[in-house]
């Protein structure tokens, strides 16, 4: 049980924990670190032995000797040189602060330390899982999800749908109609069959469902096979037909002048 639990925990950490940003610790400074070098590990949560993993740190067992003396050195180091451990009485570190090279200590103090900040693993994992969703990529693919934005002309806000959960255009349009029905019913009441107000609207040519593909072109939904569509669709837009000249065949028929 314990082995499988270990693996499970690590899997959990590895898939969800965000990569810490850090500057690599220069080798020369490691020699000054002594005991601290073996402590300031860049161990990611859930690495095989969290207290041993070093990334960018040279692990030197020789540095452990003389640890006592080394520690006050490393205290200087950790404190950005702002306060010298030996000089207990000199509390106003202002004058001494800036003299020691600030850059290197800053780099190391940004290194990720085991168990710091003191956040429980449970909380780290649940928040990390959330962070992966808020990537800059608007169509974040998490596992097998493809989220695309859907806008509707005239609606106050957009929605996002996961294209992977639908298997056909019909599924998608049913879902979209449910999502946006609150914006259309107000204007049009229930006409036609009330289960498909959006389809009715589309059939009635008031609205057209379009999408933007990988090349940035505005396309009519329904032309390509479903799988190709889910692979190339970047966002969708429910447009008013009056704006969709040149796209929807029906509309094009009505507006022969086109452009």
């Amino acid at each position: 049980m314990s082995t499988s639990l270990k693996q499970h925990n690590h899997h959990h950490y590895n898939t969800h924990s965000p990569q810490p940003k850090m500057d690599p610790i220069p080798k020369t400074h490691n020699q000054d670190l002594n005991l601290k070098a073996t402590e300031l590990r860049l161990g990611l949560p859930g690495s095989e032995s969290p207290e041993r993993t070093t990334i960018g740190c040279v692990k030197n067992p020789n540095l452990v000797s003389g640890a006592k003396r080394g520690f006050s050195d490393t205290i200087n180091f950790v404190k950005n040189g702002a306060f010298l451990g030996e000089n207990k009485n000199n509390i106003s570190g202002k004058d001494t602060a800036v003299s020691s090279s600030p850059k290197v200590p800053v780099a190391a103090s940004k290194a990720q330390v085991v168990g710091w900040p003191p956040i429980r693993s449970f909380r780290k994992n649940s928040m990390a899982a959330k962070n992966t969703k808020n990537e800059d990529d608007p169509n974040a693919e998490i596992g097998s999800c493809v989220y695309v934005k859907v806008s509707m002309d005239g609606a106050p806000y957009l929605r996002k749908v996961d294209l992977k959960i639908y298997s056909s255009y019909q599924d998608l349009s049913l879902a979209l109609e449910k999502m946006f029905s609150s914006f259309t019913l107000g204007q049009y009441g229930t006409h036609g069959s009330s289960e498909n107000p959006l389809m009715n609207l589309l059939n009635g040519s008031e609205y057209v469902l379009t999408y933007e593909d990988k090349d940035g072109d505005l396309m009519l939904v329904g032309d390509v096979p479903w799988d190709m569509f889910t692979g190339t669709c970047k966002r969708m837009r429910i447009m008013k037909s009056s704006d969709a000249i040149g796209l929807a065949p029906r509309v094009a028929d009505k507006c022969k002048s086109g452009n």
Binding site: K110, P117, N131
Partner: protein, 594 residues
């Protein structure tokens, strides 16, 4: 009686059951007959009071031990199960805590110990009618849970917090065999989640459930089984579901259980609107007894307002899984005038905290967690101004846990001036060794202000750039301090010496990465028996220093955890605790008891 002395005698008490040692003059001092004494004592629930009662005289000691129903063991290695059952014959409820708190942050290796099984096998013989078991930081295996389920026919309440070693199979055993289960509270454990079918193991005859908390499990459960369970358990008052439960399902559950006092929701948003938002809002409005709401994963401006109708009577709002922005929090808090406890993520920013100060005058506890704890550049989060804003609007604030990237001495001083009633002050400036970012001075004066201004301070966690002066202040002023957490602070042995020389009420001291050495450790020689435990890791201790301590104080267990990398003479991680059970026999190879 000097407090230290009193504590030591309590240890004596547990050690020898011979009551004659209690009062040398064993003449009948106590005029109360047992028939009067026992019922009176049975009304006393605080274990500290009960300890005091047991010290009065032989008769009171006996009356107390026969009337005690709940035993609290703060360190499972401080006493053996045999001693406990020998002293208290009629226990119905046991609370056990195991690993040192820093195990929550990966500082304690796995297989360190705190296995609950040895306790269970003794408890099964002595207390076959045990009803409640609450475990914190214990190692719990599926076998242990099965044993528990099979050997205690009256078992009613299981609470597991921060435990590890078990899987959902163990929960299956509990659900299947505990016919009278009233409480199943699973929180933040290292659990192997193999699936959600454990929930379907509750028999249809089970109607006694009052508390069900599976918020921290990941697997989907059978919703129809859950709904049936909630429907038939009419006394259900606490229901905390996990993230897989969607809004639609939550609605159904709430309609079945409008009597709930504590609710943990699942995912609080949905892509497909299958039911208008107004319906959800009405459902929340019909839950008149809600005092606590938590969960609220992924919620946003569209869905969060559905809880507004339930907010007026809320006393505890846990938003630590919902990354709200400042205006979302502000809009919500307008409705939460009775709020006493609030947990948020730092995504709400200082402006969100200003809203807290404006709308929650009764607030007593605030916890602000970092949404991105390992992000060190370009982080927003909260600063000192949010902290001050809360203190201005919430004079009753007495518990704070605050994660931030910057702080000033002046701000902390202002905060404690506004709220002098602090009992728990835990400030975590996440950048190591960070000074006051305005003056560039150490944060000594901040914590000096805290200990000087807050006479009721029981728990303190310090951070930032700190010299020995901080500890001088703590030792001198923090007369009621019981728990102190220190990391990356101090300049020399003096720091620790100040604390050990002051702080008469200190019970738990946990220190990591500080320049405290053997001299400091040994300066507290006589103090450790009055404390529950001391943890020191990555300090300047050596094996020799620890050996001296172990030799001088035979009633302490001085355990050193060996690290592969550290030299043999270094004592890399040291855990010291008082005990009447002697050195532990289940210590793994990397733990040396000196």
């Amino acid at each position: 009686m000097d407090l230290n002395q009193k504590r030591t005698r309590t240890v004596d008490r547990v050690d020898s059951v011979d009551p004659d040692l209690v009062s040398p003059e064993s003449t009948p001092m106590c005029p109360f007959p047992d028939e009067v004494l026992e019922p009176v004592l049975s009304l006393i629930n605080s274990h500290k009071d009960r300890s005091s009662v047991s010290l009065v005289c032989k008769d009171w000691y006996n009356a107390e031990r026969w009337s005690r129903r709940h035993v609290f063991i703060g360190n499972c290695y401080s006493v053996s199960p045999e001693i406990v059952v020998g002293r208290f014959p009629k226990i119905r409820s046991v609370t056990l805590k195991g690993k040192p708190r820093f195990s929550d942050f990966n500082l304690v290796p796995e297989d360190w110990g705190a296995d609950v099984y040895p306790w269970l096998s003794v408890l099964a013989k002595a207390y076959p009618f045990l009803e409640e078991l609450r475990l914190k930081r214990m190692a719990v295996s599926d076998e242990s849970l099965e044993f528990l389920a099979m050997n205690f026919p009256e078992f009613k309440a299981l609470s597991l917090l921060s435990c590890d070693g078990f899987s959902t199979d163990g929960l299956k055993a509990i659900a299947t065999h505990c016919r009278n289960l009233a409480e199943l509270d699973i929180q933040e454990n290292g659990i192997d989640d193999l699936g959600g079918d454990w929930l379907s193991c509750f028999p249809e005859t089970l109607t006694t459930l009052q508390v069900l908390n599976f918020a921290s499990l990941n697997s989907e459960v059978s919703f129809s089984d859950l709904e049936k369970l909630v429907t038939r358990c009419k006394s259900l008052r606490v229901l905390k579901v996990n993230r897989t439960i969607n809004l639609d399902q939550l609605q159904k559950l709430l309609l079945r259980a409008p009597q709930l006092t504590e609710l943990g929701t699942g995912t609080f948003t949905q892509d497909l609107v299958t039911r208008p938002v107004a319906d959800l809002e009405a459902t929340f409005g019909s839950c008149k007894n809600l005092l606590t709401i938590s969960g609220l994963w992924d919620t946003n401006s569209l869905y969060l307002p559905v809880i507004y109708p339930a907010c007026a009577s809320l006393t505890f709002l846990n938003l630590s899984c919902a990354a709200l922005r400042s205006f979302e929090l502000a809009m919500l808090l307008i409705h939460c005038k009775s709020l006493r406890r609030l947990w948020v993520l730092d995504t709400v920013g200082d402006m969100g905290l200003e809203a807290v100060g404006s709308w929650c005058p009764l607030l007593e506890e605030l916890r602000v967690f970092p949404a991105d704890p390992f992000e060190q550049e370009n982080v927003a989060g909260v600063t000192e101004s949010g902290f001050v804003a809360v203190s201005r609007g919430c004079p009753k604030l007495h518990y704070v846990l605050y994660f931030c990237h910057q702080m000033t001495n002046a701000a902390v001083a202002t905060v404690v001036q506004n709220c002098p009633g602090f009992t728990h002050f835990r400030l975590c400036i996440m950048n190591l060794g960070q000074p006051d970012y305005v003056t560039n001075e150490p944060m000594d004066e901040a914590f000096g202000a805290v200990v000087r201004t807050c006479p009721n301070l029981q728990r303190l966690a310090v951070s930032g750039l700190l010299t020995d002066l901080t500890f001088e202040y703590i030792g001198k002023y923090a007369k009621n301090l019981e728990i102190l957490s220190v990391a990356f602070a101090g300049s020399s042995d003096l720091g620790l010496k100040y604390v050990l020389g002051g702080c008469p009420r200190l019970r738990k001291l946990e220190i990591r990465d500080c320049p405290f050495g053997n001299a400091a450790l040994l300066s507290g020689l006589t103090k450790y028996e009055s404390m529950r435990s001391l943890w020191m890791s990555a300090c300047n201790l050596t094996m020799n220093g620890c050996r001296v301590l172990a030799k001088e104080m035979p009633r302490l267990n001085v355990e050193v955890m060996k690290d592969e990398d550290s030299e043999d003479s270094q004592a890399h991680k040291v855990y010291i605790y008082r005990t009447v059970a002697g050195p532990r026999r289940d210590a793994p190879p990397f733990v040396l008891t000196l």
